[in-house]
Symmetry: C2
Subunit: 474 residues, 2 copies
Amino acid sequence: MTTGKWREAVEGKKWTEVSDLVEEMAGSEVLIRGRVHTYRPQSSKVFVILRQSGCTVQCVAEQSNVGVNMIKYLKQLSYESFVDVIGVVVVPKDPVKGTTQKVEIQVRKVYYVNRALERLPLGVEDAARSEADIEKSLETGTPAVRVNQDTRLNNRVVDIRTPANQAIVSIGCQFENFFRGNLLSMGFVSIHTPKLLAGSSEGGYAVFRLDYKGQPACLADWPQLHKQMAICGDLRHVFVVGPVFRAEDSFTHRHLCEFVGLDAEMEIYKDYSEIMDLVDELFVFMFTELNEKCKKELEAVGKQYPFEPLKVNPICSIKKGFCSRYQTYRTGVEVDPLGDLNTESERKLGQLVLEKYKTEFYILHRFPTAVRPFYTMPCADNPLYSNSFDVFIRCEEIMSGGQRVHVPEVMEKRARECGIDVKTISTYIDSFKYGAPPHGGFRVGLERVVMLFCALNNIRKTSLFPRDPQRLSP
Amino acid sequence: MTTGKWREAVEGKKWTEVSDLVEEMAGSEVLIRGRVHTYRPQSSKVFVILRQSGCTVQCVAEQSNVGVNMIKYLKQLSYESFVDVIGVVVVPKDPVKGTTQKVEIQVRKVYYVNRALERLPLGVEDAARSEADIEKSLETGTPAVRVNQDTRLNNRVVDIRTPANQAIVSIGCQFENFFRGNLLSMGFVSIHTPKLLAGSSEGGYAVFRLDYKGQPACLADWPQLHKQMAICGDLRHVFVVGPVFRAEDSFTHRHLCEFVGLDAEMEIYKDYSEIMDLVDELFVFMFTELNEKCKKELEAVGKQYPFEPLKVNPICSIKKGFCSRYQTYRTGVEVDPLGDLNTESERKLGQLVLEKYKTEFYILHRFPTAVRPFYTMPCADNPLYSNSFDVFIRCEEIMSGGQRVHVPEVMEKRARECGIDVKTISTYIDSFKYGAPPHGGFRVGLERVVMLFCALNNIRKTSLFPRDPQRLSP
């Protein structure tokens, strides 16, 4: 790092976290490191707001304490620079406005750790402004800056510093932890499946192709085949968390070309309701946990992007939350009985479920076989329908699942019916010839579920470094 | 699933896990599902060993109980098929040999769930045989089958069913869990970084190239740049678990073209010993935990591939385990002071450390700058050396780490010295111009650490579906 004076000054001292600065520490000298969030110079004083992740504290440098040279030095600080501050904790008479910490630091010394450019591509305060505050500023005649999405994403290292974005990253991390932790406690094993596949995948999506040492290869558009092969390998209940690649030209608010897939697969004993029961219990629990344990983070998101917490009704969801497609007609949504749902029907159905069951989370099952992949098990009583389901929150699909065909002859027949050359999937089909249990599973996209959980309007807000048909950097 | 008679027979019944079959259940009727591990027909009896994951139980069908047709039916079972067995738990007079469960099942009914082919590409018992048992069989004159690695990997769904392989998957899962759990408890955040990168990476490895909607792209050979950008985005301590891609033509026992990287990055305050302290504490803890909590799994691996548990000496490792390269010379390994270690020196050094400190886990630091990537921070006292380290277990490297350059000017200088066109990494360098804290991190490959922890001779044994220069399937 830096050397000389700084090294001498900090030697033997401990750093204090900004979040730990409380009134009980009044009078003690502390060493803190943080960013220059903002500063306000006066003639013989400089007020610096120091930020560390989501926490801020006001530091006051007075000429009588630090000397005239230090005041000059502080008047040339640049925003977002890292500095080390040595100072004394004091409790101000009038509480400081706009900082997270109530105490103030009387500055003794300040050292630059890393100096940021004078002009940044966007300001953190600008990036953190809510739409409501921008609207309000218009009335005052001095309109506040509105940072557009491309500027944010082009300069994600600055954009990600806003309280809402810090919280979104944390919510995604928590969601994944709850998913993993709960499945592990149910006896699932975490596995990793290869993303590099020979030939072209049969998942039904456009894939990214590449040359693998002279062989044609593609990037996995789901770990579907390999998680099923893990079940054939006696692993019984598995999950995979990892990137999923889609070369689709989808320019929507909810599609990415690379995202994080949470995939599970399990043996089943009687029928696919075992999977839906698990999904129901797991997700109701996870959403409830998130609402409880991420209160601070949800508040931070809501401050910039106001939203209502997701309504999850556990009892209703567990006992009656499954809507078969047949029920759908009765509840008033008209859809093609052998076709897929469109966005409009999804929305209408979601409203009906919310009114009747007071939940924005629900499962729709028994989809027409024609709209599901070839490996979906047809219903025993009517092969035009399948043992499959989708999960919705806030009227949008977050998850698909279902029972898979485990009988090689049935799979070959289904592949042919779907126009797939059986030869190209022979390794996959062979897996089932060596003995396979009935099984099924489900998949959810991390960025999409976090987007809908927080009612955000764009999936690019929940991906740290999003990839879409037009964006491959940073 | 199947219908008719089977459905009637199992309706309303609960399945019992093979692992739950104990003497206390004697006399009760149970319904179990499992694979036909082996069977032995006699005139009016059939003995079936039923396997469920790692557990086995003997089922005895007697003509007097099940009738002549069922006996005929059972004499045509095929190995590895899934069957449902209804029977009564009994405690046999003479304990059953070779099964994990001590009780026996008196069969009432058996139903096929899924029939495996008569001839499998390899037998699970053959795949599970230790080298010692094969050697022993040679003496008897009827040599046992030795399954070669390609047969195993080509038919991984069968190979993975052996007790050793089931255990290896579980150890990998546990290692990842300990890694995640411990870092989360230290305040790290789990993030995901994009695997699709614009242009070609600067990680120094051969990369897989592809076309991304008309733009040249490659697969990330480490999440290095993005995890550093996350630190510049105020996330402070992050880790990434995900696939890492290398197009290297490395035909060795320890290289793969796709593997699981465990990557961490953190702010540092004084120097890079903060990272080494964390690595030391984390890994000594994890290895100790694995040795304690995966006893059954380690035993299963050792049965087929005998090995000595990894010697980890916590006190020694924490207090004195760091060996600087300078110490190396004194301990008798001759190496080029500005060059890298070769395999021979690594081995010799490992032996010396084991003798002196009684640990097979140690950290070597202060590598010559010339053998580390351009983003490695040179030592303040001698820029020919760098603030970097490697971690070794059983004389092989499992991890690299170090402090990164966070000062844009130094980074540009280092890039130029390493022959990198600064323009191609401008986004990366810009990240540090917007204010960056001193930071560093480390990376470890999951498959390699599990391989060395279990003293296995090939990394393909610890990857579920390995990818190497010649293997892209299954």
